[in-house]
């Protein structure tokens, strides 16, 4: 028995997951490539009309990032389930919720952060005005961890099922509606030169709530899904 303290265990967990993600960095590029390709399809489907693209740019970037994250969510616990390390984590003496919080953080760093980095490029391709760029980045910085946290709870629920991809989309997308509304509202307000801090503040409030509650819910969901 090692008597590691909670911060040490959290750090170890974060380091482990980030190392695992880095060893398979080819996979990390996939959501980014997916987002770029989806965003590129829109000008082809709608025609390269500048005014139209400008109006929909922020929404397209938000939804594209959301879908790319949805595709990557499935993998959050997949390898840990396969090799049994998730069960070991549940049995370990450390409290489960902060451990899962670290896993979610690592997953966010590995999938959402590259998407945020590439999002100005996507927005630029769709001619989003530069004035709205800070609002978009800030909204994404707050919205993507929310999606990761919400998604982690649902992924934990589907851990024991056979095919979870479409089911995950069906469960996650309704819960995402408010996130998308506030994020898009912030960018739309910025684009029209209106004050856009209020929707961002709502996102931040929701994020704070989710940071506290989602790891606990995730732990409860995992215990339900693994209990058989």
């Amino acid at each position: 028995m090692s008597g590691a303290s909670l911060p040490q265990a959290c750090a170890a967990m974060l380091r482990r997951d980030l190392t695992l993600a880095w060893r398979r960095r080819g996979d990390l590029a996939m959501p980014v490539l997916y987002a770029v390709i989806v965003a590129v399809l829109f000008p082809f489907a709608l025609g390269p009309d500048l005014a139209l693209l400008q109006r929909i740019a922020a929404g397209v970037v938000l939804v594209t990032v959301l879908l790319a994250m949805l595709l990557a969510l499935d993998a959050m616990f997949a390898s840990d389930i396969e090799d049994g390390s998730l069960e070991q984590l549940v049995l370990s003496p450390q409290p489960l919720a902060p451990m899962l919080g670290m896993k979610i953080l690592a997953h966010w760093l590995a999938t959402a952060l590259p998407l945020i980095v590439v999002s100005p490029l996507l927005a630029g391709m769709l001619h989003l005005p530069a004035a709205a760029m800070p609002a978009l980045l800030l909204a994404l910085l707050l919205a993507t961890p929310l999606l990761s946290l919400l998604g982690a709870v649902l992924v934990a629920l589907t851990v024991g099922t056979r095919r979870s991809g479409m089911l995950l989309a069906l469960m996650l997308l309704p819960l995402c509606v408010p996130v998308v509304i506030f994020a898009a509202g912030a960018v739309a307000a910025a684009q029209q030169g209106l004050p856009w801090l209020a929707p961002v503040a709502w996102l931040a409030a929701a994020l704070i709530l989710a940071v506290v509650l989602a790891p606990l819910a995730c732990a409860a969901a995992l215990r339900i899904a693994l209990d058989s």
């Binding site: 649902l154 629920l157 589907t158 099922t161 069906l170 309704p174 899904a225 058989s228």
Partner: protein
């Protein structure tokens, strides 16, 4: 004095007792639903006067509003029994939560369809992205997610517990649906009927609506009883009391 009430409630939690109780309750609830529904529909479609502004088109309210109330009521029932299922691990609570979901989804679907049929002549559009309509649509997706998650598991009880958890997360949407017309400026009108206060509706139109509300509640009880009975038989398949029922029904 009334110590038999808690005792009876505890006994009701056991599947065989509930099976018999639901079997006895179902015909009464169904009969009540048909009776109240018939009176309510007659009162609403024939006796109630036409609206001064909407003419006869408003009469869809007698389907739309009771279904909308039921869509939220059933979700609340599902959330509460899901909570009971998770905390006390009662088999019956799992059954009630999971068998409520398809009924609630059906009520939500009816609400959306009748609302869109009503919206076309009154608002000039089948659908608009206002808060009430969107949150009701999200409610439908939540029901479908709960049903989908329940059926994704091999083990039914585990599936029921996972889906109950999802239902509890989704409960947050119910007050949003209810207060959406107050919190946001929507095309959908605010609430006209107020249980505890003064309703902004003529009595001639109100009483059929209230009867329809009771009829849908009774229908929900009847439908839930039937679905729960079937589900309990499937869950308890190997038990003695189920075998006895099967033998009783097999003998001519």
């Amino acid at each position: 004095m009334a110590s038999w009430i808690p005792l009876w409630l505890h006994k009701l939690g056991s599947p065989p007792t509930f099976y018999r109780f639901a079997g006895a309750l179902r015909p009464w609830a169904m009969g009540l639903a048909l009776l109240l529904g018939a009176i309510g529909l007659y009162g609403g479609l024939v006796l109630a006067p036409p609206d001064y502004q909407q003419g006869d088109a408003y009469r869809i309210i007698f389907i739309h509003v009771p279904s909308a109330w039921m869509s939220m009521f059933v979700y609340a029932v599902m959330g509460v029994s899901g909570f009971i299922a998770l905390v006390w691990r009662m088999k019956l609570a799992e059954v009630v939560a999971m068998e409520s979901a398809p009924i609630g989804a059906a009520f939500t679907f009816i609400t959306l369809v009748t609302g869109s049929l009503w919206g076309k002549p009154m608002w000039g559009t089948w659908w608009t992205w206002d808060a009430r309509l969107t949150s009701e649509l999200v409610l439908l997706f939540l029901y479908l997610g709960v049903i989908g998650l329940y059926h994704a598991f091999e083990d039914r009880r585990q599936g029921a517990r996972a889906a109950s958890f999802l239902a509890i997360i989704g409960v947050i949407n119910v007050p949003i649906v209810h207060y959406s017309v107050t919190w946001w400026n929507t095309l959908h009108q605010g609430s006209t009927v107020n249980i505890f206060g003064h309703s902004k509706m003529a009595w001639d139109m109100l009483w059929p609506l209230l009867l329809m509300t009771l009829a849908t509640k009774a229908y929900y009880v009847a439908s839930l009883c039937r679905r729960a009975r079937t589900d309990i038989l499937a869950l308890e398949g190997g038990k003695d009391w189920v075998r006895r029922i099967a033998e009783d029904e097999a003998t001519p």
